[in-house]
């Protein structure tokens, strides 16, 4: 698969950014028990399954007030 070989190195930076987003979201979800809506399980699943958009939606809409 030359296509995959060609694509792969280019994908790494994007992939790394997605991983950073997911890790940040998961860490935040685990440390903060309060969410504007939804519960912990829902946000964990969303952040891990929906690449990029999951964590962003969590940070923009789901994150509770800083206590």
């Amino acid at each position: 698969m030359s296509l995959l070989q060609e694509m792969f190195p280019l994908l790494i930076p994007i992939f790394v950014l997605d991983v950073i987003l997911a890790v940040a979201a998961v860490r935040h979800i685990l440390w903060h028990p309060h969410y504007r809506f939804g519960n912990r399980a829902m946000w964990l699943v969303l952040s891990l399954v929906v690449v990029m958009f999951g964590p962003i939606i969590y940070f923009v809409f789901g994150r509770g007030e800083e206590k």
Binding site: L3, L11, L17, I56
Partner: protein
């Protein structure tokens, strides 16, 4: 001035802590990097999947830039507006500004600070995204040379300031995040509607965010950006001044 500096420090810390910088930066970076990537490989991936789709034309560097401007003006600026849409409403709803204003923090400094911080994060995110897109495009199409790539991005960047000025006015006028965002969206939509009206379309600031690829491809000349650019800068200042004077009369 001392109030402005003190408040700007507070705003930077706050935006780091509430992940606004992080989110905006990551969104811009991902979309900057992936625009060239998607332009290059989408046809090939579909072909490889055997969907019976034959790529009629080999994608070119211009397609990558097309994708970049589509992403930034769509997703990037939307994220910017949504993220900073709550910059005043969170202060209003909790009444945190009351103490600082009665301490002698000048009201214009509050607005200028909010604007500065939003503009700086937009600027950093945008140009990092641009550098990423440039690098990928250059790597994937090494033999292509296009002109006006940087000016084209510059115009896109400038309209970001206009969007932020409109947003800040919305944030001052309305207590709710959602209303402020809606206000901004409404005004931008108005610009888009006016850009369809013939005699005005050439003056409309929307040109700065919609004709970028035409500038790179040489379809239009850079002089056609002059008037929309000036109008955009003037409007940015007007909206910002309006926001400051509205906030001076705002009850906290």
């Amino acid at each position: 001035m001392k109030g402005y500096i003190a408040f700007i420090k507070k705003e930077f810390v706050e935006n780091l802590k509430n992940y606004r910088f992080f989110i905006l930066f990551t969104i811009f970076a991902i979309f900057g990097l992936s625009s060239a990537f998607l332009a290059k490989f989408t046809p090939e991936i579909i072909e490889a999947l055997g969907a019976g789709f034959e790529a009629t034309e080999e994608p070119v560097a211009l397609d990558a830039w097309q994708q970049f401007y589509k992403n930034i003006s769509g997703v990037g600026f939307s994220a910017l507006i949504i993220l900073f849409g709550s910059c005043m409403s969170s202060e209003y709803s909790k009444g945190t500004l009351l103490l600082l204003v009665t301490k002698g923090l000048a009201r214009p400094a509050v607005i200028l600070t909010k604007y500065t911080v939003a503009a700086v994060s937009m600027t950093v995110s945008f140009w990092v995204s641009f550098v990423g897109a440039y690098g990928y495009t250059d790597h994937l199409w090494p033999d292509t040379s296009l002109s006006y790539i940087v000016p084209s991005a510059f115009f896109m960047w400038m309209i970001g300031f206009l969007y932020l000025s409109i947003l800040i006015l919305g944030c001052v006028l309305f207590k709710q995040t959602f209303t402020s965002i809606l206000f901004t969206g409404g005004i931008v939509a108005l610009f888009s509607i006016f850009s369809m009206v013939r005699p005005l379309s050439a003056l409309n600031p929307i040109v700065l965010a919609s004709r970028n690829v035409d500038l790179i491809s040489g379809k239009i000349s850079i002089t056609e950006f002059t008037v929309p650019f000036i109008i955009s800068v003037v409007l940015s200042v007007v909206f910002l001044v309006a926001a400051i004077s509205a906030f001076n009369k705002k009850q906290l």
